[in-house]
């Protein structure tokens, strides 16, 4: 009975939280179904011995963290392959991503510059975006042919009197080719994103700067970069996540072997190796979980190192 008397009081503090939950519900449901549950089940799977031996199923037997122990046990010559794979992935990503972002930033500034007013922007934008439309596997096949021992590059070298250079048998030439393909595929995409970011900056700031006598270097470092930071962070994080999942290009170029000496084998290639023949869900789950942790840590570092230090200033 007392509730009826209290009713008007409740109306005073009316809450729209219910609607908020309603509107974010689609995202939450999709997230839980498509991200959270798979993530947890991957971890759950990593606790089991579960694979095919030929055509015979082994397991699933609960073995705790044994799969992780196996992954972190160095092999007989002292090398820890999981670290090696993580290192390869990071190195090839950095080799591709740094030039990708620098180059894209440069192009974005040139294309959006009011002074240069480049004609045919639509054409150039299309052209630089074009590589992204080609399948990574097709790209990898193409480069494999170009740099193979009987490919055109080696034919040029040999017609000049040299002997064939085996690009895929040298650690750094193989890594460079893989990084270059990734760079070529993704710089167009990054350019478009950064251009959108630069065009979102208030034009009057640039005008004010030039009236104050700032040269273009100063404008770039004092106005463009700071105001573009949120977009750059977005670009770096998406590139990072994409880079850690690097798979198709090195897989195809090295036929899954990660040659030479496992220096181009990435984490996802290792995962694929486990899941392919023996359907080893346990080990594959463990590798995926490590990949998740690495991605999480690195994203966190990127966030921390690039966010404006407001609190620090206040103190």
């Amino acid at each position: 009975m007392s509730s009826t008397t209290n009713a008007p009081v409740k109306h005073k503090s009316i809450s729209y939280a219910g609607w908020g939950y309603f509107f974010i519900a689609p995202f939450v449901i999709v997230y839980v179904l498509c991200s959270l549950i798979p993530l947890l089940s991957t971890f759950y799977n990593s606790l089991f011995e579960n694979y095919m031996d030929g055509l015979k199923q082994v397991g699933p037997n609960f073995i705790g963290l044994d799969n992780f122990v196996t992954l972190f046990t160095p092999r007989a010559d002292g090398r820890l392959e999981i670290l090696n794979y993580t290192g390869n992935t990071m190195i090839m990503w950095i080799m591709g991503a740094v030039p990708q972002i620098v180059f894209a930033l440069l192009l974005a500034v040139i294309f959006t510059s009011e002074r240069m007013k480049i004609k045919g922007q639509g054409f150039f934008k299309t052209v630089i975006y074009m590589p992204n439309l080609i399948m990574a596997s097709a790209f990898a096949m193409l480069f494999f042919q170009i740099f193979s021992s009987v490919g055109p590059i080696n034919q040029i070298i040999m017609s000049g009197g040299g002997s064939a250079y085996l690009f895929f048998d040298n650690e750094w030439s193989a890594r460079s080719i893989i990084a270059f393909i990734n760079f070529l595929m993704w710089f167009g995409n990054t350019t478009i994103l950064l251009m959108a970011g630069i065009m979102g900056i208030d034009q009057s700031l640039f005008e004010a700067a030039s009236i104050d006598g700032a040269n273009s270097t100063q404008v770039f470092f004092k106005i463009t970069i700071p105001l573009l930071m949120p977009i750059i962070i977005y670009v770096v994080i998406t590139a990072l996540i994409g880079g850690l999942q690097m798979f198709d290009v090195p897989q195809i170029i090295t036929a899954g072997r990660g040659a030479p000496n496992n220096t181009t084998k990435t984490l996802v290639m290792a995962l694929n190796s486990y899941i392919g023949t023996s359907k080893n869900y346990g080990m594959a789950g463990a590798v995926s979980f490590i990949l998740f942790v690495v991605t999480g840590i690195l994203s966190f570092i990127v966030f921390r190192s690039t966010e404006p230090k407001k609190e620090g200033k206040k103190k």
Partner: protein, 477 residues
């Protein structure tokens, strides 16, 4: 806006195509059985054959097959070789409709590299019991490297149940390779694959002073002699063989121990012997310094007339199916080849047809198996037109003893006669279900030791790591 429209169109196209696939399979699965009997009843061409087949199967075994024949005959393979022979020579095959006795023949072909074919096949076989009639695997092909995995499982069936029995004309090793541990025969091979040393006549003349197969054999019948000839060849500007992996099978086939025994990986002694031989061949410049693999362009380019390589290794299917460059009308060197046994007897590959458990086309499977082993017309065509060495002794010997028979590619040498003399020495032994990836992986990883990129121990550790990833059940040193 445009983008939205295109993406909407794309999305709907995807949904439609998925729905389309579903639409195709679901009705097929429900109506397959009656449709099949209808088809058999109505199609005039098929009735006779189907009736006799059905009768045969009924009397010979309790197999459920022939009575209700499925309307799709699914065959899994790893290349187009057998498909080509099947389409040309299989009695009752209608090439324009792609049907065999009125049943649609569907090929699923996946490459064998890195175990892809096995992976896809395994998935299909495991789903065979629940698959719709149109998707059921009826017959699949398997190679010596992994046939054991399938014969020793419940996914293949005793072909005696289909009415196929061993016949005397088959070579014994092809039968034992297709038998499970209880002696039940699960399939047949249409080839017998003794492997020969294939040499360029013109280069042999220059290096050895003769191109006569018997004399060449006398100079190459042991590894010591082979190594000595390699040096002579190098001095004259030739390569003894082009790829480091070319003679791998010659060694590995003669192994005293299996790759995996009791779950433990051990490298057979002969494989190690091969490794050291190739290391010295590479260091001495006896082979191509680009170290191409067996199937790489760098190696096959050596088969052109401009090539400097004297020897290749392979069975009949190799020089007929895989030496296209040598057969090239402009750049090739057709007729400049011959074969001899080489340093050691060995075999390579072979294509076995296995019957998948759960097949709904049992009588057709039996018919194909019989056609390619027992039907003398088919076997004769395989030899005459395709240069094959068949799994039918009678037919092979007929050609071997025919003084007018010769293979034009080999300068009219009677290759069938050479192969007939080699069949007795073939050993099918020490096989495991892990052989394909052990052989492939070992060659790929040890190559870096041969080239000097890494030391031997690192190369072996990389190989062990590969095996650990691919085969968790196998313990590595």
């Amino acid at each position: 806006m445009k983008k939205r429209i295109t993406s909407a169109l794309l999305a709907s196209a995807v949904i439609l195509s998925v729905a389309g696939c579903g639409g195709n399979t679901t009705p097929a699965s429900t109506t397959a059985a009656p449709a099949a009997t209808d088809a058999a009843a109505t199609e005039a061409a098929a009735t006779e054959a189907a009736a006799t087949e059905a009768a045969a199967a009924d009397t010979e075994a309790a197999a459920p097959a022939a009575a209700d024949e499925g309307d799709t005959f699914n065959i899994y393979a790893w290349n187009e070789e057998f498909k080509g022979f099947f389409e040309k020579y299989m009695p009752g095959y209608d090439a324009s409709a792609q049907t065999l006795d009125g049943v649609k023949v569907v090929w699923t072909i996946n490459p064998s590299d890195d175990g892809v074919y096995q992976d896809k096949l395994d998935q299909a076989l495991q789903a065979n019991a629940s698959a719709s009639a149109a998707d059921k695997v009826d017959m699949f092909l398997a190679e010596a490297d992994y046939i054991l995995k399938y014969t020793d499982s419940d996914y293949t069936m005793d072909i005696a149940n289909l009415g196929v029995n061993q016949v005397d004309t088959e070579y014994q090793y092809t039968v034992s390779a297709a038998s499970d541990s209880n002696g039940k025969i699960k399939g047949v091979s249409f080839q017998c694959c003794p492997s020969a040393l294939i040499y360029r006549r013109s280069i042999a003349k220059d290096v050895l002073g003769t191109d006569d197969p018997a004399e060449v054999q006398a100079q190459l019948d042991s590894w010591d002699k082979y190594e000595a000839v390699a040096k002579t060849a190098k001095d004259k500007g030739y390569y003894i063989q082009s790829s480091f992996a070319d003679n791998y099978r010659v060694f590995s086939n003669n192994a005293d121990s299996a790759w995996v025994t009791g779950g433990q990986l051990t490298i057979p002694a002969v494989v190690d012997q091969w490794t050291e031989q190739m290391k010295s061949f590479y260091d001495n410049g006896y082979i191509l310094d680009t170290l191409p693999g067996v199937w790489d362009d760098g190696k096959t380019a050596e088969m052109f007339a401009t090539g400097k390589t004297m020897c290749f290794f392979g069975p009949a299917w190799y020089f007929n199916f895989c030496m296209g460059n040598a057969q090239d009308p402009d750049k090739g060197c057709y007729g400049d080849w011959a074969i001899c046994e080489g340093p050691m007897a060995h075999f390579w590959g072979g294509t076995w047809m296995l019957a998948a458990t759960g097949t709904d086309n049992g009588s057709l499977v039996a018919k194909v198996m019989k056609a390619f082993t027992e039907d003398e017309t088919v076997c004769e065509n395989l030899i005459k037109n395709e240069g094959q060495f068949t799994n039918n002794k009678t037919v092979n010997e007929k050609f071997a003893n025919d003084p007018d028979f010769g293979n034009a590619f080999l300068g009219n040498q009677n290759d069938t006669a050479v192969f007939c003399g080699m069949t007795d020495n073939i050993k099918f032994q020490n096989n495991t279900i892990y052989d394909q990836l052990c052989n492939e992986g070992y060659q790929d990883y040890i190559k870096q030791y041969i080239s000097g990129a890494v030391d031997k121990d690192t190369a072996l550790q990389n190989f062990y790591g590969y095996i650990n990833e691919k085969y968790p059940a196998v313990q590595t040193p």
